[in-house]
Point group: C2
Chain length 328, copies 2
Amino acid sequence: MSSLPTFADVEAAARRLDGVVLRTPLLENARVNAMLGGRLLLKAECLQRTGSFKLRGAYNFLSLMGEAERARGVVGWSSGNHAQGLAEAARLLGLKATIVMPADAPALKVANTRASGAEIVFYDRLKDSREAIGQEIARRTGATVVPPYDHPWILTGQGTAGLEIAEQARALGVALDAVAAPCSGGGLATGVALGVKGLSPATTVHAGEPAGFDDLARSLVAGTRQTNEKLSGSICDALLAPTPGEVTFALAQKVLGPGLVVTDDEVLDAMEVAFREFKLVLEPGGAVALAAALTGRLPVKGRAVAVVCSGGNVDHATFQRALDRHPP
Amino acid sequence: MSSLPTFADVEAAARRLDGVVLRTPLLENARVNAMLGGRLLLKAECLQRTGSFKLRGAYNFLSLMGEAERARGVVGWSSGNHAQGLAEAARLLGLKATIVMPADAPALKVANTRASGAEIVFYDRLKDSREAIGQEIARRTGATVVPPYDHPWILTGQGTAGLEIAEQARALGVALDAVAAPCSGGGLATGVALGVKGLSPATTVHAGEPAGFDDLARSLVAGTRQTNEKLSGSICDALLAPTPGEVTFALAQKVLGPGLVVTDDEVLDAMEVAFREFKLVLEPGGAVALAAALTGRLPVKGRAVAVVCSGGNVDHATFQRALDRHPP
């Protein structure tokens, strides 16, 4: 394996993304802080263009491609947020994009990916290999595969969210004890760790995962890449990657603390708190790190903690399930 | 009447509020822009501390009070957002606050006002005069009345949101054709107009109101302050002030363009768009200016328009009504 990416790569990505991605706010709520007995800061990446952080990595990757490669376009696979981020990055840079999406991806994510001008190819999450389908398209068309997480250009792009957190916390005069980010394949969590630790080395960074899909948490314990038993079955549709990436896991072992695992009900409760206290719309996968903080799995009491709220692309029905858990 | 406030007063307020209020983001969505054929920028004041812009004016007012007055505390009346903003400003500055709220104010706004440590006195929206109750408390306790809108210190505090819009649009390289803000008594709309026009004199600024509560729109046409026939009956609980303020109307005649009036159903539709496309939780009153832009009452086609999304303090049931208008 080539050498692992560094903080300098995140800084370089931040320069590429300047003026392209939104510098999302770091939000705080006096009532929630009082309830938790500490300071909880939310990095609102649900407000990012395309409704999740994924534009960061995709745009960084496409910016680094050569001219000849760009002319042949890009192909990617995704349950939805990478699809939208990649499709929009391609639109912004004038590249053709083909996206391989699961047939059960949320309708909203499919519609939005299509709206960015991408061609969509569907697959069956339980029977097909999305990687194989994507690789076949790449072979046939010459398009470049843009992986959802397991590449230095992707994870350092996502890491710009971590760099922003560190800068924004510093501007608030806050020394962060810990940061947590949702985790599927590990691109966001490892990138954020690079970005945060470059400015704030003493801060611990954790990946949050849904129960039953905690492959990274178990891999960090085992010291080798573990695989989830199931391929579907959590409300967190964005966090179902079966195993950590090679690059992301190698990096995770160096930069991440122990994993945080939350249940679907805890995620729904966190979505309701985001609605009521922070006026943010979060999708289930985007609320996992917040859920870890609200449940005390990531302690906030007497500390300063930031959580990445990574996406808000949620269907009406799922959002109503969150609202229903806390009737007025 | 004393001389009207100016842009310099807004700039001074911005210095007082620096580090106290959140510089809320100006959000944009490629799909919505494509649909409207122009650029629509959302000033996300629902993300502001206390869930609305009201902290700006209240904190500015309390900062300008003398020492002796501060020691006797403050009293205010409000359907909810000024209540929360004033209570939180008082908490931040260590003042005692008493808030007069309608008995039918949303439960969330009452609970949040109480959580900031304020004492709450309820009144009947149809029978009692909240002004009379507040003035009586002031007489009895020596507390200073902090009006919800009709005071230069209040409206120039709210105007800092407009100054931020002008600065943020400039940073994006956008020349704004128009800005709109929700309007109850006119503090936000006139303040925003001062703030915007100080940096961008050619931009027209409009106040948005719910149908049936369009006292400012009619007053601007008539040239004298008009009063609404009803005191309740719109979903926009934050926008039911019966008539424009004296100061705000005098200023409105100088700085505002024609009023924009939208129906409750159009407001619910705008809340759904804010949820789906911008990942923002808006209360009905906070979505009025957005509704004006989405319905074309404030034309966006071929133009650049910013709308203030002024608050997000909405009960679950009302938010579900918005979601229900656009089933998945």
